[in-house]
């Protein structure tokens, strides 16, 4: 990573920290501690399943909210406040600015996810008193959640490069919801006919496939995740994010900063 991208990424991370974004960890900590105490009382025999489902879903939702609501302002806020003028009047190329912002927010989410994961495993240990070998699949689920955040950050940046924060939030959230049902959309495309089939197939391939990244239910039941899925999901997330970032750069590179 060149020094300009690193500087912008580091500044983006610092902004998130100083704007108290990581305060969401307190809400998460309260939630996970409350859940661990409550689940032990009410879920006889399935405490672990309930806690894993609840904990991983909470990590995913907390991160999703941060990725979307910070991501949509990464470019538009800099234009609105005109801080971008003093950055782009230096030897900083526009693609470097986009990549710096992307890595900054992805880094923030990685740190946030790490601390939430620590809290989650602590709650699990409190409830189960020990770790099992199958718990390694929880790490895979967390890795997939992080891949989700990477895709969402790239998408939010893409929308932020040409749209208002409100519309960007609507687009990104809509894609998150639709993407969570991407497998169903593909199933529908397979049984549809004529133009509907063509449109559904196209849509199924355009929207991010978050459903294949969601293995929370299976790891909660102790199922292992196939190594091939880890490989394909990684390649998919990298390619999808790269495409969204390339789109953001293409648009932003031609944009007049009035």
């Amino acid at each position: 990573m060149n020094t300009r991208i690193a500087a912008i990424a580091s500044n983006t991370f610092r902004e998130a920290v100083r704007d108290r974004v990581l305060y969401n960890l307190i809400a998460f900590a309260l939630l996970i501690v409350g859940a661990a105490l409550l689940v032990g009382q009410v879920s006889i025999g399935i405490e672990r399943i309930v806690l894993v489902n609840l904990g991983l879903t909470a990590i995913s939702l907390f991160g999703m909210v941060i990725a979307i609501f910070i991501g949509i302002g990464l470019v538009s806020k800099e234009i609105e406040k005109r801080t971008l003028y003093t950055v782009l009047s230096r030897p900083v190329r526009r693609w470097e600015f986009i990549l710096g912002k992307f890595f900054g927010l992805a880094g923030t989410l990685a740190v946030n996810t790490f601390f939430m994961a620590v809290g989650f495993f602590a709650a699990l240990l409190y409830l189960a008193h020990t770790f099992q070998w199958s718990d390694t699949s929880l790490l895979v689920a967390l890795y997939f959640i992080m891949l989700e955040f990477v895709i969402l950050t790239a998408l939010a940046l893409f929308f932020s490069s040409f749209s208002s924060p409100l519309l960007s939030a609507v687009f990104a959230f809509a894609l998150f919801v639709i993407g969570s049902f991407a497998e169903d959309l593909r199933g529908f495309a397979a049984i549809a006919h004529g133009p509907v089939r063509a449109v559904a197939t196209l849509a199924a391939f355009i929207v991010p496939n978050f459903s294949s990244l969601n293995v929370i239910a299976s790891v909660a039941h102790g199922d292992a995740v196939a190594p091939a899925l880890v490989f394909y999901n990684t390649v998919y997330a990298v390619l999808y994010s790269a495409a969204a970032l390339a789109g953001a750069v293409l648009i932003f590179d031609r944009r007049n900063l009035k």
Partner: protein
């Protein structure tokens, strides 16, 4: 031959506005000018004249509809040129969660100042703009005047050869304006080229080697302040000993005033003979006759009309 620091050739900008973007709005008509190295160049015009558009075109923030611009011999789209220039936008806003030192270190890093020199450059520029004591304070606690100083500091932290300042005195109190003026003069003494836009004419008169005057996106005049003001039709001030106003002065449209034992009249150059005759006819003694120096404001009024928003 002296190399121009800034060379603008037929640069123009038209925005498409409206929902379907079919209505053109001309922000800058074809503009050509040169600024020589080491000059302080004032870019004057009323609000909305196209000054900021020109600066944004030079900074690569907006793209020209036609024409080209070169800074230090390189096209403005060449990333290498950006390491040699500094820019202060109009009414700047900075990352207010950073301290002054952090902000300047960030900008120094983006400008390619080597890590080893960065702290020294930042400290030197903080001293220069008079902010060493508040270097560790977050910018959200800064006053407007302090922010403007930070703005100038970020524009020069990497020791650029050409500095662009968009309305650098805007919103400052008289002391702040004086400090900025001194700073611009010191930049010139270091051999830097300063291109600054303003609608405050007295600042331009006090500082600039040359000025360009823009109105409604069009260049209306360029040259040294003295050259421009000499084109303004002059006036002459006459002072006489006496307690009354000679009758003949009023008929030639002179602005007259009497205070104590002396009278004073301002007349156009073409009416000086008639005014002297009128004073003599009234048996008053002529004490002095002095040409009134035309100002940029006079130039503005004569060339751009009186309905433009400029500040003396």
């Amino acid at each position: 031959m002296v190399t121009p620091a800034i060379e603008i050739s037929n640069l123009q900008k038209t925005y498409s506005i409206g929902f379907w973007r079919k209505n053109p709005r001309v922000a800058l008509r074809p503009l050509s000018l040169q600024v020589l190295e080491g000059e302080i160049f004032g870019y004057l015009g009323p609000n909305g004249a196209g000054k900021t558009t020109t600066l944004k075109l030079l900074m690569g923030l907006v793209f020209p509809s036609a024409g080209s611009a070169r800074i230090l011999g390189m096209d403005v789209s060449d990333p290498r040129v950006k390491a040699q220039i500094g820019f202060l936008p109009e009414q700047p806003y900075f990352y207010d969660y950073l301290t002054a030192r952090e902000l300047l270190e960030y900008y120094a890093q983006l400008s390619g100042v080597p890590g080893g020199d960065r702290s020294r450059s930042v400290q030197a520029v903080l001293d220069r703009v008079g902010l060493p004591d508040v270097a560790g304070v977050q910018l959200r606690k800064f006053s407007k005047g302090m922010l403007q100083r930070v703005g100038i500091a970020q524009a020069i932290v990497h020791n650029p050869r050409v500095v662009f300042l968009d309305e650098p005195m805007s919103g400052l109190d008289p002391m702040g304006r004086r400090e900025v003026r001194d700073l611009i003069e010191s930049l010139k003494q270091e051999g830097k080229t300063v291109f600054f836009s303003t609608h405050i004419l007295s600042d331009a008169e006090a500082l600039c080697d040359r000025v360009a005057i823009l109105n409604q996106g069009e260049l209306r005049g360029i040259g040294a302040v003295a050259e421009l003001t000499s084109s303004v039709h002059g006036k002459v001030e006459l002072i006489w000993a006496g307690t009354g106003i000679p009758a003949g002065l009023k008929s030639i449209g002179a602005e007259c005033r009497v205070s104590g034992e002396t009278g004073r009249a301002i007349v156009g150059e073409e009416a000086v003979d008639a005014a002297i005759d009128a004073i003599r006819a009234a048996h008053f003694r002529l004490i002095s006759m002095t040409p009134v120096r035309a100002t940029l404001e006079d130039y503005f009024v004569q060339h751009l009309g009186t309905n433009t928003e400029v500040t003396r």
